[in-house]
Symmetry: C2
Subunit: 140 residues, 2 copies
DNA sequence: ATTTGCATTGTAAACAATACAAATTTATAA
DNA sequence: TTATAAATTTGTATTGTTTACAATGCAAAT
């Protein structure tokens, strides 16, 4: 369980709550698996049989626009979402494809924006490589 | 012009050269615009009318796998490629969508991989926000 | 000259994501 | 409460990117 309820999270980000939005936010907060739109859709279809996939798309995009969730484009095959918005980095294994949270390196946020030509709103740091279990696994 | 020819770059990364691969690498090295597959395809169709888009997909993927190019998944709408493989970060403007190269912050490469659970092969750092000209532009 | 193997091509298919309009729900005001 | 407006959701149709795959081309090796 999370310390803040899904409803409170939505209200905190100025997002008007609805049954679908609460369910989707609750899923994000209780599943730290960086799910895709489809994974959220399939999982929530059990409790909300009328749920439309378009709603999941719209809602997750809405969350990301309000800063209530992160849209991760690390894997070129699929967009993932993260309910943990506290700054952190990610690691993706190129073999099993799993995404894991890792510490943000010191100084990553303090960008040398030569001449302040840019107004930074989001910082993304991630690594690709092989996770422990895939290193030990024999090659495919 | 680049100091290393496209051919030498391919050979340096152990990639068997061909007319198409040389042309695609040359395009990457002489156009620092982070092009998409389609942009490369359209541009090279003039010199190589028989070029297939599938070949561009395969070739750019091959380059990325051999470390001869970077595959950028910053923009969720399109995959971009970068012929500059020297470590650097990127900035993407959320309004005009342009990608720019920026300095890699100090320490971004030295990840605290608690327990060395991961073998890092690539490090990606990018920022999203508003570029100078889009800040000055009136809102849409 | 044949064979071998990789590269390329082009079509077909898969798939993710979006647009859109109808239907539903919720909020607001009379 | 009822009517009206606004917002949200739904489902289908569509778009566009990416991949799969089989056929073809090409060049080096035998």
């Amino acid at each position: 369980m999370t310390d803040r309820s899904a409803l409170d999270t939505l209200l905190g980000y100025g997002i008007h709550p609805s049954v679908q939005r609460i369910a989707i936010m609750d899923y994000l907060l209780t599943h730290r698996t960086h799910p895709t739109v489809d994974e959220v859709y399939v999982a929530l279809n059990k409790e909300i049989p009328t749920l439309s996939k378009t709603t999941v798309y719209n809602t997750l995009r809405l969350f990301a626009e309000h800063g209530a969730a992160l849209m991760l484009t690390i894997d070129e095959k699929k967009i993932c979402f993260d309910g943990v918005v506290k700054p952190h980095a990610h690691f993706m294994c190129r073999r099993c494809g799993r995404l894991k949270d890792v510490e943000l390196p010191e100084g990553a946020g303090t960008l040398q924006l030569d001449g302040a030509d840019f107004m930074v709103e989001e910082t993304h740091v991630y690594y690709k490589g092989l996770c422990r279990s895939c290193q030990e696994q024999p090659q495919a």
